[in-house]
Amino acid sequence: MSVFIDQQTRLVVQGITGRDGSFHTRQMIGYGTKVVAGVTPGKGGQLFDGVVPVFDTVADAVRETQANTAVIYVPAAVAASAIFEAADAGITLIVCITEGIAVLDMTRVLPYLHERGARLIGPNCPGLISPARSKVGIIPGNICRPGRVGVVSRSGTLTYEIVHQLSTQGLGQSTCVGIGGDPLIGTNFIHCLSAFQADAETDAVVMIGEIGGTDEQQAADFVQQAMTKPVIGFIAGQTAPPGRRMGHAGAIISGSSGTAAEKMAAFARAGIAVMKRPADVVPLLKERL
C-alpha cells in the first residue's frame, strides 16, 4: 500500500502534447506509471509517442480508457477549467502542477470538487511519487528510494533537497507528496498526515512547511491528537520579511501571523521534532525510528 497512488493508478495527462506535459509524460512512463490517455483539445485521435491515445476531452478519455487519475500541465489561464473538466468526467484524484491559478478561481473550483468527492493535489505543486511504484507529476524519480518514510511538503526543490538527504543516507520513502505553494490548495497537511498514519508501509513522516497561513499549526494539533508515528518538521522562511510574497503565492507573513517562529513553536508543543536546517532530517529521524 502507499498513499493516494499505487499500481491501480490509471493516469490521464491533460496537456500531454505541450512542452512540459510531453516531457513529464515520458518521465512518468519511464518510471512505470500507467499513463492510459492524454487530452489536448483538437488533437483527439492522435497517438502520443506512438503509444498513448490522445482525446479531445477528459470525458472521452475516461470512457475509452477507464482513467481514474488526472495530472494537469496546461497553462495557468486554462488550468482552473482543466480541473473542473476532470472532476466533471468522474476523475477522483486530480493533480495540478500548473502555477499561477487565480485564488478567486480556486474559491469556485474547491466546492465543485467537494460536491463530487474528488481529491485535488495542488495547484502549484510537484505532484507525488511512491518510489519504485508510481509517480504523478514532476518529482525526479532518480533522487527517491523505496522505503518507509512519508514526506509531505509545500515546496518543490526544497523537498528534493530533503528527499536527496534521506535517500543518500539510507532512508527510503513510502510516498512523497508536494501539496503546493498556493494559499488555497485541495489537499493539506492534515489530509496527508492522516493518510500516512493509516498507511501500514509508513513508519515516520517528514513535514516541510513554510511561512504563511495556519496549515502547519492545525497540522501540529492533529499530530498531537491523532498520530502515533513520529513526525519531523521543517519550516522555511525564518528570515523572510513580513508582508512580502516569497515566491510562492501562499508564502507571506500577514501582519504578525504565519511566521516561521510561530509554526516552529506549534510543532515543538505538539511533540514534532523541529529541524533547524535541512541536514537535520536524517539524525532526527534515526533517533526516532
Binding site: A102, P140, L184, M246
Partner: protein, 385 residues
C-alpha cells in the same frame, strides 16, 4: 500588486459605492488648485481639505503623510512637504487632495480570501478608522466575520445582518449593506486578494460613504486583466524588484551581505535561513526558477551586485528537472559577459552534477555539492571581504 488609495477609490466609485470627491496632485500648485475647487466647508471650494500621501505603506498618518489643511494655501504647503517624503522606504510621488469630511461615525468593512475556510470572508467592525489588525489582536470580539459561499455571492440578508452590527439606523444599515454587496462584486471583478474600506463613514447629514480604500490584486489575475495591470506604479517599488520582474525572476531585497541565487522558492527561503544559521545575513531572496538560461543568470547577477552591501554571492541549485550542467554553463557564460567583483560560491547537486562540477572547475570556479559547506563558505567570504 498593491493599488494606491486613489486607484482603489476609483474602482469603488465605478462599482457604485459612494466615495467623496478627491483628486491626485503631483505638485504643490496642483494641490492648491484642487483644494480651491473641492475644499469643504459648505461646498463651492476653498474650505478644509485633507492631503494624503499615496504610497504602498501602512501607517501614513503616523509618519506625517496625512495632513489636514484649512485652506488652499495650507494644502499647498502640506503637499510641498509630503511630496518627496520617504515613508517606510517608499518615496511619495503623489498626494490625494480631498475635502475634509464631516464625520459622525467610522467603521470598517473588508474582504479577504480566508485560507482555512477557502472562501471569501467579509469582516466588519464598528471600530473603524484604525489598524484593523490591531483591533483583531486586542479586541477580536469587535470584528464580525461572514464566510461567503462563492456560488451564490453575498446575499442581501447576510449583508444587512452585518450592516446592522454597524448602524442602529435602518436607512444607514441598508446603505451599508448595498455598499458591501457592491464591494463583494468589485472584489471578484478586479481579482482582488484584499479589498477594504477603512473608514466607512457616516456624515452628520446621515449619508454613508467610503472615505479611504485599500485594494490588493492577486498577481495571478494580472495577465487576464490588462486594465488592472496598467495601474501598476513602478515608481512606488524598489528598482531592483522592477528589474527582476521584467527579467522573469522573483527577487526581494533584504539588508544582509550574502547575495543568494537559488532555484525554487522553498529552497531559496531555506538557503537564506541557513545563511543566518551560520552567522551571516542574506542580502536577498531570489528564485531563478527552473530555467538555466544564461540571460537569466546574467540578470540575476546584475540585480544582486547592484546592491553595494553584497560581499559574496551564493548559488544553490538543486537539479531535479533543471540540469546542473545547464546552470553551470549559464554561470560560466554569464560571468564572462559580466565579470564579478565579489567572490562567488557555487553549490549544485542532483541531475548531471558531475558534469557541472567539471564545467565549473575548468572555468576556474570551485564547485561544491554540499549545501551546508557552501553556505558556511559564503558567510566566511562575505565577512572577510
Amino acid at each position: 500588486m498593491n493599488l494606491h488609495e486613489y486607484q482603489a477609490r476609483d474602482i469603488l466609485r465605478r462599482h457604485g459605492i459612494p466615495v467623496p470627491p478627491g483628486e491626485v496632485a503631483t505638485t504643490a500648485d496642483e494641490a492648491r488648485a484642487i483644494a480651491a475647487r473641492l475644499g469643504g466647508g459648505g461646498g463651492g471650494g476653498g474650505g478644509p481639505v485633507v492631503v494624503k500621501a499615496q504610497v504602498h505603506a501602512g501607517g501614513r498618518g503616523k509618519a506625517g503623510g496625512v495632513k489636514l489643511a484649512a485652506n488652499p494655501a495650507e494644502a499647498a504647503a502640506h503637499a510641498a512637504k509630503i511630496l518627496g517624503m520617504t515613508i517606510k522606504g517608499f518615496t511619495v510621488h503623489r498626494v490625494l487632495v480631498a475635502p475634509a469630511a464631516d464625520i459622525a461615525s467610522e467603521s470598517y468593512v473588508g474582504i479577504i480570501v480566508d485560507r482555512t475556510s477557502q472562501r471569501p470572508v467579509l469582516m466588519v467592525s464598528a471600530a473603524g478608522g484604525i489598524d484593523i489588525e490591531e483591533v483583531a489582536a486586542r479586541t477580536p470580539e469587535k470584528i464580525h466575520r461572514l464566510a461567503v459561499d462563492p456560488r451564490y455571492g453575498l446575499l442581501a440578508h447576510q449583508a444587512l445582518g452585518l450592516a446592522l452590527k454597524l448602524h442602529r439606523d435602518i436607512a444607514q444599515a441598508r446603505a451599508t449593506a448595498d455598499i458591501m454587496q457592491r464591494l463583494y462584486a468589485a472584489f471578484y471583478a478586479v481579482g482582488a486578494s484584499l479589498a477594504e474600506i477603512n473608514p466607512l463613514v457616516t456624515t452628520r447629514d446621515g449619508a454613508v460613504a467610503a472615505l479611504d480604500a485599500k485594494i490588493v490584486i492577486d498577481d495571478n489575475e494580472l495577465d487576464r486583466r490588462p486594465e488592472i495591470a496598467a495601474l501598476r506604479d513602478t515608481s512606488a517599488e524598489a528598482p531592483s524588484e522592477v528589474a527582476a520582474r521584467e527579467a522573469g525572476l522573483t527577487f526581494i531585497k533584504l539588508d544582509g551581505a550574502v547575495g543568494c541565487c537559488v532555484n525554487g522558492a522553498g529552497l531559496a527561503m531555506a538557503t537564506m535561513d541557513l545563511v543566518k544559521y551560520y552567522g551571516g545575513a542574506p542580502a536577498n531572496f531570489l528564485d531563478i526558477g527552473g530555467s538555466s538560461n544564461p540571460q537569466k543568470v546574467v540578470s540575476a547577477l546584475q540585480i544582486i551586485t547592484a546592491d553595494a552591501s553584497v560581499r559574496a554571492i551564493l548559488f544553490n541549485i538543486f537539479g531535479g528537472i533543471t540540469r546542473c550542467d545547464d546552470v553551470a554553463n549559464g554561470i560560466v557564460q554569464a560571468t564572462r559577459a559580466f565579470p564579478l567583483k565579489v567572490p562567488l560560491v557555487i553549490r549544485l547537486t542532483g541531475t548531471n552534477e558531475e558534469l557541472a562540477v567539471q564545467i565549473l572547475t575548468q572555468a576556474g570556479f570551485p564547485a561544491l555539492t554540499d549545501m551546508d559547506e557552501a553556505v558556511k563558505q559564503a558567510v566566511a567570504q562575505a565577512k572577510a571581504a
